[in-house]
């Protein structure tokens, strides 16, 4: 039996350490609410407790770590270059787009994981795998029905979008004020691109990356939302790999002495800290209405109550998606039409859930209501009478 060399395991520990440090602030509780997309998966997993629902987010986190290992091993096998493989894996872990996605319980992480298997597979099989997987991907997202190539091409290669604006098509998956990649990655990307096409011994890397990049680009061409993170993973992964190559060139170049390396590392650390602060402290505020914060508040409230029947207006009926899953055996919800609001909700023995614009029907203003369920930014969502 082959003896395991501890030196070979060190990169894995290093990648895992970076992963845990970047998540040390909060592993599963940001975003603070649960989206409707997540609800479907939670329902599929048959989870009925909110606490467990949050912990289900450990699954994408685990897949995320596994994907970074796949990238590491894939490039290590094909290039036999440890530093390069580490750089690529770390860029993936720390890129704002993948970081944000890995915090949500969606189908995205498995899709990226499966896409990254391309790098692990030996070359003839990998091309076939990529082709088949791309077709499946395109079919899943119905991305083959769009023809405005020009605007997509422009949006695709736009440096401002990649490094500053980020995903404005599905901004609820985006770290505020940050692009798909960190600011400091921009010059590194240019270095990586230059090295990839002009550097020595880059032919092997070109053979690996170019098909993946082309496939990602083709998929974006046929995409009606070229900026949506969940439709551009292939493309973003390719850019991330080029950035990884850029970091590799920077750290392995004889032109760069240890002082410059230290400065680069400090810059990366500062930028990383900035991104993490924005994610952990501001993501919920900027995406207040997207993640069902008020609904989770209501679930917590309702569980403590002894009342078992709530009247809910049609405009507030989206709350039922959450109550059906987390409060099924305990409480009963009756949807009422607009004309019945005054009669049912004026009765002080009934419990009614209303939106702000419906309060006038029962002769109340929002200041009269004591029990209010708020969005993450402090704006009221539901009122309980």
């Amino acid at each position: 039996m082959k003896k395991i060399n501890i030196k070979q395991l060190l990169p894995l520990f290093f990648i895992a350490t970076v992963f845990f440090i970047s998540r040390s602030f909060n592993m599963v509780h940001i975003p603070g609410g649960i989206s409707t997309e997540e609800l479907k998966i939670i329902s599929f997993l048959n989870i009925h407790e909110i606490v467990y629902a949050y912990y289900a987010r450990l699954i994408p986190a685990f897949v995320f770590l596994l994907t970074s290992y796949i990238l590491y091993f894939g490039f290590l096998t094909k290039t036999n270059n440890r530093l390069l493989s580490i750089c690529i894996a770390l860029v993936f872990i720390l890129s704002p787009w993948s970081f944000a996605i890995s915090h949500t319980l969606t189908i995205q992480m498995p899709i990226i994981f499966l896409a990254c298997l391309y790098f692990l597979l030996p070359s003839p099989i990998s091309y076939w795998y990529l082709a088949i997987y791309s077709i499946a991907f395109a079919a899943y997202y119905h991305v083959v029905a769009y023809s405005d190539f020009t605007s997509n091409i422009i949006a695709l290669v736009d440096l401002k979008n990649l490094f500053f604006t980020g995903d404005y098509a599905s901004f609820y998956l985006k770290i505020p004020f940050v692009g798909f990649f960190s600011f400091v990655d921009l010059p590194v990307f240019i270095i990586g691109l230059y090295a990839l096409f002009t550097g020595n011994k880059m032919k092997k890397l070109q053979e690996i990356i170019i098909p993946f990049f082309c496939m990602g680009t083709i998929l974006v061409f046929f995409n009606n939302l070229p900026n949506a993170t969940y439709k551009t993973q292939f493309f973003l992964l390719s850019i991330g790999i080029v950035i990884g190559i850029g970091y590799y060139v920077l750290f392995s170049s004889y032109l760069i002495n240890k002082y410059i390396r230290t400065i680069i590392l400090i810059l990366i650390a500062c930028n990383l800290f900035y991104n993490l602060e924005l994610y952990y402290h501001h993501f919920d505020y900027k995406n207040s209405t997207e993640w069902g914060y008020s609904k989770i508040q209501f679930i917590h409230y309702a569980k403590k109550q002894e009342i078992n029947t709530f009247y809910i207006t049609q405009d507030s009926a989206d709350l039922l998606q959450y109550t059906d899953l987390f409060l099924v055996p305990k409480l009963k919800f009756i949807i009422i039409s607009k004309d019945k609001i005054p009669t049912l909700c004026k009765n002080k023995y009934n419990r009614c859930i209303l939106k702000e614009h419906e309060l006038g029907l029962v002769g109340k203003s929002k200041d009269d209501i004591q029990t209010v369920f708020y969005h993450a930014n402090g704006l009221p969502d539901y009122f309980l009478l």
């Binding site: 440096l159 004020f177 600011f183």
Partner: protein
Amino acid sequence: MTKIKTVNLLLCTILLFAFLIRAFKIETIPGGIDWDEASFGYNAYSIAQTGMDEWGKFLPLSFQAFGDFKLPAFIYITSFFIRIFGLTVFSLRIVSALAGTLTVFFVYSIALIVFKDKRTALLSALFLALSPYGIFYSRLGLDISCIGMFIAGTVLYELKYIKDEKMLNLSISLLFLICCFFTYNVGRILAPFFLISIIAVSLHKKNTVHTVTVILLMIFMFGVGVYQLKNSYQSRMKYVGIFGTDKSMVLNINSLRYEDHNTFMSKLIHNKIVLLATTLTQKYVEHFSSNFLSSSNPPSAVQVSFHGPLFLIQLLFYYVGIVYLIATFLKEKNTTNKISFALLLFWMIISPFPSIITEGGISRRYIGALGTWEILCAFGVSTVFFTRKNRRYIWNTLFMVCALCYGGFAFQYLNFYFTKMPDFAYVYFKRQNDIAKYTAQEYANFDTIHVSRQITGEPHIFILFFLRFSPQKYIQTKNYTIENDWVLIHGFDKTHYPYIIDSKYLTTLKDDKKKSMMFLSEKEFMNLSQNDMNRFSYRKFDFSTVDNTSVYLITNK
């Protein structure tokens, strides 16, 4: 010999073509003049007639106009043409067309000096001749139209000075630089950087006289800059700059700190330095981003190009041009050539500065880069197609395909400009132009003329322009107030510009013997009483399909 003649012939054809595109139907497309064009034109007319501006100042260095203190170079140049052709839209805009054409020649010469390749130079000239930015700004009677020419002139003669060290070339370069400084705000931001580059070159040449001359000029420009800062520049920057308490950057900081409950750590992370660095970098990168370089939108505002500076097909060559220019600069052994490449790179690097320190992505602030886009594209094309020793069939075919695509894009742009642009005349104040033209036509037939400010902000300037009103008489008869540094003209001679024309205003015109003509908005007209209607005869003057409103013209019976 034959080859030289062919090149010259091609260059002349390109220049002629550039001029024709810029001058064709220049009076009618764009379909009107905006108030800045009218103000430039009238001030130039005033200078041509009296040597004074509209405020009676003799040969001023800064024209007060509406209180926005316009820079003088464009007005003085235009005054010569207005002196010859009279005050018309043509005489105002032809200056821009000529400046645009001259820029094409300058860009050709710059590319020829830097790359020493006639094909690259001709391509640069062709790209500029058909450049969406170049064409768009060369057809507006504005100061912006000349700034590209002055910047290109500065660079060209600096390059010549690098080659031959002649005082004449240095002087011409400095002359263009001074023109930059006195033409447009973009020039005022870029001029000091070019001056620094000239100082660096003269220091490198170890020529004390030249260095002292340039430094003296720098001191002069610094003095003028400080003087002007007190007047217009400061207030202008307060209005358009990214610095200030009510700017989006500061509002973002406040919002982030609020969300962090104003902790010390939050102040450490979310402060002006961090956000300024990211904002400036973002705006700088935007200048090189594909979305900015080649996206197009329907015309939405005067002075804002509806098309990016490059056609889509040029994008790739532009990026290739940048990469290979850097690579060529690094590899170059000859010092003079290296400095030439460095100057071109320097121009490319500094050109986004005026736009990054201001809010809003307004295309005219990118105008400093006009010339660099085209030269870099041409260099990219040369690198890809012309430098291969064994030119294969496939590369020739690819070149032909690209050339055809470029032709298609250019044709599409020109077709849009000359056939669809007239539909967007409302953007170019066509309504205000029509009111002013009608007023000029009927001026002698009425005793008083009233134009409501509900229709337009500064109606007087259009009437002054189309009436070719005597500058001396205007200075004597105008009635105005100044509010927040902005001059409000309430009337001159027999014209009046009230904030609103309503029943109350009409009752003040008791002297019915005076023959009056009034232009008012649809809303004002609808609010008039039946009594008012009986006193006046009225008709619809025009109808705008954009906002579905009309302007009404009423006269006494």
